[in-house]
């Protein structure tokens, strides 16, 4: 090959460099990776479902055979079961990244910090929503509930609620998973910020089972929606700063 030919080939070499995926593409890739990892073992999904069912049944044992009280507070137990289970799911989603320092690898890849947040939060939303889909029919059967509104409304409330839990939870799990007392720290930090979510989701779910004579559903859903905007927005802005400093 003559030197002139080498020079002529040079641009071809530069264009062959891999293109860095944008935020959306990067999120999709990372989400696929997370879900694939989960699907191969299904350990987290099993743990979540059985933990959720266990919590739900524990509430009814703790209250004794008072069917009236159980029915009245069923949506509260339902959301508490999801909330307790979410702690397992969230800490596990960052524990897998700490084995072999994979989070460092991801950042060197280089993956966008926001994409990592979005992928983790969406992945957790999917898992929690799936857990809700298992727990909802179970609560309806166990607590003897009547569905007054449509099941689509219930599915929508579950989706918005799990989104809020996952966004705030992903943010706090990323901090807590690296501190010394991680198992204690995550619930202490996460549950207080989730109180408004819990109130709104429980109220809205209660209306699905008991009807909505005062037309309050819309305002509770608005509150849930605005909390989602706050949590996802703050998470997107702050998360890259957190993983920078790990």
């Amino acid at each position: 090959m003559t030197p002139a030919e080498t020079v002529a080939q040079a641009p071809a070499v530069t264009t062959a460099r891999p293109v860095r995926p944008g935020l959306f593409a990067c999120t999709v890739i990372l989400l696929r990776k997370d879900l694939l990892l989960e699907w191969r073992t299904r350990a987290r999904l099993n743990a979540l479902v059985f933990f959720g069912i266990c919590t739900l049944l524990m509430f009814s044992f703790a209250l004794g055979a008072n069917a009236m009280a159980l029915r009245e507070h069923a949506s509260g137990y339902f959301w508490l079961a999801i909330l307790f289970a979410s702690v397992l799911s969230l800490s596990e989603s960052f524990r897998v990244e700490q084995e072999n320092h994979s989070l460092d690898g991801l950042r060197l890849a280089p993956a966008n910090g926001r994409a990592i947040f979005l992928a983790k939060a969406i992945g957790n939303t999917v898992l929690l929503w799936g857990l809700g889909a298992v727990l909802a029919p179970l609560s309806i059967a166990v607590f003897d509930l009547r569905v007054v509104m449509s099941l689509f409304t219930l599915a929508f409330i579950m989706l918005v609620g799990s989104m809020a839990i996952s966004a705030a939870g992903t943010f706090y799990a990323s901090i807590a998973s690296n501190a010394r007392a991680r198992d204690v720290l995550l619930p202490i930090l996460l549950f207080p910020v989730l109180v408004p979510v819990l109130i709104a989701a429980v109220k809205a779910t209660t209306m699905v089972f008991e009807g909505d004579p005062m037309n309050q559903m819309e305002s509770w859903l608005t509150l849930l929606g605005s909390l989602n905007v706050i949590y996802w927005g703050l998470g997107l802005v702050l998360f890259p700063r957190i993983i920078e400093d790990l």
Partner: protein, 253 residues
């Protein structure tokens, strides 16, 4: 005494706080003035509330505790909002002043909030009949205390100053949701607790005593935060600086 008299006292802390950005070391000299004003304000407020205000028609003698309960919780919320401001300040431009201020305001806010909540519980026993009820305002206040206790716990559990500052700044920024919930809880949800007090809604004879006490507690909060801030700065210096820079004997073996 007309009820505007204590408002004159407000000029001192507000003036000092407005001058602080221009003269950073101002508090080193004048913090004793603020401390004196805190003692004076709280003293006069407590005296008036205990001895000069007549018992209220419905609540009777218990109403006097408001002169201590409301200012403490107000200042706790103020300290927590300051924590949010400092956290944001740290995230935007990495300033150690902001980090130390955030730590001290969270600690002082936690203290004032805990004492204020306890006083509220003491007031609630004769009035509502119970110390504690799962009312939105009370619950959200308790949740705020837990959150900032968690914030301080995270600071203790993290050894690296850089990491600690960034993480706690992120927590402080995220945490603004909670004081807003506490403040708005009486409006958003059906609550036994009365809505935010204003001079028109509180017991009229108590207003003067209340204002003295509120301004006293404001000065107390500033003094507490200032002193805690100095400790935090010293700790940071110790952590970041090498031992010789701290005046350790060199070559003494």
């Amino acid at each position: 005494m007309p009820s505007w008299v204590p408002l004159v006292l407000l000029l001192v802390p507000v003036g000092i706080c407005l001058a602080l950005p221009f003269k950073r070391d101002l508090l080193d000299k004048v913090w004793l003035v603020l401390a004196a004003e805190a003692v004076f304000g709280i003293g006069v407020g407590t005296y008036l509330a205990l001895f000069s205000v007549p018992p209220e028609r419905d609540m009777g003698e218990v109403v006097r505790i408001f002169a201590a309960h409301v200012p403490q919780v107000q200042n706790a919320l103020l300290a927590v909002v300051l924590n949010f401001g400092c956290s944001l300040w740290f995230l935007i431009r990495k300033s150690w002043v902001a980090d130390s201020l955030a730590e001290s305001s969270a600690e002082v806010g936690l203290y004032l909030g805990a004492v204020g909540t306890a006083l509220g519980a003491i007031w609630a026993k004769p009035t509502w009949g119970v110390y504690w009820t799962w009312d939105p305002r009370l619950t959200s206040a308790a949740v705020m205390l837990i959150y900032y206790a968690g914030y301080l716990a995270l600071r203790r559990f993290t050894d690296n100053p850089d990491t600690r500052a960034t993480w706690s700044a992120a927590l402080g920024t995220f945490g603004i949701v909670i004081p807003v919930t506490v403040y708005k809880s009486v409006v958003w949800m059906k609550s036994m607790h009365q809505v935010q007090s204003s001079p028109e809604t509180v017991y009229p004879q108590l207003v003067t005593a209340f204002r003295f006490s509120a301004i006293g507690f404001l000065c107390l909060m500033i003094v507490f935060i200032y002193q805690r801030y100095r400790i935090a700065q010293e700790q940071l210096k110790r952590e970041v600086a090498p031992p010789e820079a701290l005046g350790a004997p060199q070559g003494a073996a």
